[in-house]
Amino acid sequence: MVDKRSTVEEMVGELRPGMTVGFGGWGSRRKPMAVVRAIVRAGIGDLTVVSYGGPDVGLLCAAGLVRKIVFGFVTLDSIALDPHFRAARQAGRLEAMEIDEGMLYLGLSAAGQRVPFLPTRAGLGSDVLRVNPGLRTVRSPYEDGEELVAMPALDLDVAFVHMNRADRHGNGQVLGPDPFFDDLYLGAARRRFVTAEKVVEPGRLTDEGPMQSIVVTRLLTDGVAEAPRGAHFTSCPPDYGRDEAFQSRYAKSAADKEAWTAFRHDFLDVDEEGYLAAVAAGAAGPAAGR
């Protein structure tokens, strides 16, 4: 069987400016943050980002790498709004396709099923149709004749998800309570990458969780990379919770240019090892968090 082991740098090396990129996770939960940090380091911009948005969106916005965001929300959960995302939108720097969360689910599903759209009631009557003039409705060909929103397929160039465990063939496992939509992101993409807290021997994923927790099969994966704490500072239960102290620091880095420059210098202009060391050093200081 194919050994799909790779590195975060190699995965991100496939990105090109202008691509459409999807990130798994939800809000500030199990986001592929090691990948996001690597994209910031590589400075690959002009991206269209599709996300149940959290700090993945905020960090890339702060780094000026996002042209367009496809989203239903952007939140840090314990902090309701991501200040970097807000700043980008309020400065008029960010194109947006703002849709209902369920429409996002259907758009990813449609892409994975290779159909041009899936019908839904969601969006009807709302300003989602006003701000997305490209969205069309479709009339049921059956007797009911209902006119529904035709949510278009959200085809991705590349998708990244972060899992608790994976094996080298590209099977991925979520040990936390919610798999979110990660398999749909992979299914919607041309190139599909999984990072994991730990890459284990094939066949050993069931050592730590039931078979149903293996939510991604190798049919959906092109590359696998071990990335310990690869979701930090978002939550990745049961391996770790959200680093609230660090998230707060991240949010405060939106205060002004100096704050962002300092944050970037300390945590982003360093490699992943340097990042984790800087986080550990920060946690040992007086502003210690969990």
Partner: protein, 265 residues
């Protein structure tokens, strides 16, 4: 009164009962008749109301722990998601299945709300370049056309109750004309605020003042609303918690007083 743990008389003066408790009961009342439905309350007071309803007149309500599980028991609102007895998994993807099936009643919050029940939680100002970017439309467009929707507004003011919302997220009654697929399962049931309970029983489904909380004058609600409310005759007072409800609220569901933090007074 000797303290919050003694049994208060429901007929007693309103001063004995806190405003947050009246609001929690109003939220519980919003879920009356829902039976075996997934009730999704946003905010502490609605969460309290949903749990109160389940412990009293709506025992079959289905409630999540705020994360990815349904709760087998009805713990205090301060209980962490990991600390509850789990009934069944309810990850986000399954929530959408429930939304689209209609077996749900959501009580959302609103940054803006208009007289027909259009709600905004996306942004303030021009959408293309917002003056204030908020969280986004979230699931409001889909919720509002698929199942019952109610709203919780902890600070009733003309900034929230506006003539026109800047970005229609949750769909109101005036947007259903000529859109039968949107109207088919649409119901905005009630709006519970720190001052009053409102519904859409006015002409053309306009917002109507259903009751004012004890100690609140009709004029006060009207002054805090940025459009004319439908007021029919003498407006009743929102009902007070029963002795049993008060005991459940204070001793079982919110002994830490979390609702007081969301709604002081």
């Amino acid at each position: 009164m000797t303290g919050p743990s003694t049994t208060a008389s429901p007929q007693g003066p309103a001063g004995e009962v806190r405003r947050a408790e009246v609001c929690a009961v109003a939220c519980a009342e919003a879920f009356r008749g829902d039976g075996e439905k997934l009730v999704s309350p946003f905010g502490t007071v609605p969460s309290l109301g949903a749990r109160l309803a389940r412990l009293t007149f709506e025992p079959d309500l289905v409630l999540t722990d705020g994360e990815a599980a349904l709760m087998a028991d009805t713990p205090p609102v301060s209980a962490a998601p990991g600390d509850v007895l789990r009934e069944a998994p309810m990850p986000y993807r399954r929530v959408f299945d429930v939304v689209w099936s209609g077996r749900r009643h959501v009580m959302m919050m609103a940054s803006q709300l208009d007289m027909y029940g259009n709600q905004n939680l996306s942004c303030i100002g021009d959408w293309a370049r917002p003056a204030i970017q908020l969280i986004g439309v979230r699931g409001a467009p889909g919720n509002s056309v698929n199942h019952t929707t109610s709203y919780w507004v902890p600070a009733h003011s003309p900034r929230v109750f506006v003539e026109h919302v800047d970005m229609v997220s949750g769909v109101g009654y005036d947007r259903l004309a000529g859109a039968p697929a949107a109207a088919r399962f649409h119901e905005v049931r009630v709006v519970v605020t720190n001052l009053a309970v409102l519904d859409f029983g006015g002409p053309d489904h306009r917002m109507r003042l259903r009751s004012v909380h004890p100690g609140v004058a009709v004029e006060e609600v009207e002054a805090a609303t940025g459009f004319p409310l439908v007021v029919e005759g003498a407006v009743p007072t929102s009902r007070l918690p029963s002795a049993e409800e008060l005991q459940l609220l204070r001793e079982v569901l919110d002994p830490a007083g979390a609702a007081q933090k969301e709604l002081p007074g």
